[in-house]
Amino acid sequence: MTSLSSGWLVLIFALPVAVLFCLSGGVAWAGRSMGDGVTVDWPRRLLASAVGLMPEDGRGWGSAMLAELDAIAGRVERLRFGAGCLRIALFPPAPAQGSHPWLDAARRLSPGCGALSILLPVTGPALLCIGTIVIGGLERRNDVHGLGVLMETRVGVAVIAAVASIALGMPLGIAGLLQAERCRWLSVAGSVFSASIFPYLFVVSLVVGRPGAAAGAAGLSDPAPREPVDAILKLFET
């Protein structure tokens, strides 16, 4: 059975993630540099980032916590106070029971929408990549080809979970935008990443499936042309 080497698998899955982080980090850094230029220490920086993820109606409290932190002297005390506030900013207390429990639940979820829209699509391919490498290693160690029925079922479930986590990035990103989260770039980056990872894998599969240098460089022992879907499946074969 043909296979891609572990190094190439890692490269294929890590490339879009690296691009995502570089772009997101660059945008975030540029935005911070263009901001008010207030000197920040770590407690404040962490808390300010978390406050940026809070829903709009909770940001007043986030600003209050930041202002309170600014008034505290002493490194240890600032760390303690900042840590407590960070927890509240990330996990705000449940609002009073309203007449719309679904809306209340959505509001509680909203702080993480932008962050989750990036986290889930990144985690999915990473887990797939790690799982593929581990299974390949197990097969090589046991000198077997193909997976058992039980393992195939597990792999199938893992693939479905990974695909779902990638696909969830889009609705989560849109939810983050609808919730008008302050760090909109998180939602935008998550949506774009989620939407582009499947076309990316498709293009990669075309490149890998093509005979010649690319296939040879990818370590394929079977240089014959393959259908794209078959080539995608080959990505996950070891």
Binding site: S63, A67, E68, D70, R87, I88, A96
Partner: protein, 109 residues
């Protein structure tokens, strides 16, 4: 105000601290120091008290240059009534152990 509401010892300690000087506006960090509560406990209490109309907030008008204005807290009339109820119930909030979630008075939720 719902008088059937039960109040946690931590919430009671915050209300009592604020009721000690009903007209004074207090900072959140000062309340933390006075009650011994951590910020992670204090702010949910403050948020819920505000949601329930027991506490009023405003931003300080004069503040140190280079620093953002801080939040100030003061009990509303309903909050003061709750404080009186707590005093009447003679529940010694300061004796309450934090590990005991409720004193027969439960979370302000």
């Amino acid at each position: 105000m719902k008088r059937s509401r039960r109040v946690s010892p931590q919430t009671a300690s915050v209300v009592v601290a604020l009721a000690a000087e009903p007209q004074a506006r207090r900072y959140g960090y000062d309340l933390c120091q006075e009650t011994g509560l951590k910020a992670g406990t204090m702010y949910p209490i403050l948020i819920r008290l505000v949601d329930q109309g027991l506490l009023e907030t405003n931003w300080e008008e004069t503040h140190a240059p280079g620093r953002p204005p801080r939040h100030l807290y003061r009990l509303t009339a309903s909050g003061l009534a709750l404080a009186r109820d707590l005093a009447r119930a003679a529940v010694p909030a300061t004796e309450a152990k934090p590990s005991r979630p409720h004193l027969g008075l439960e979370g302000a939720k």
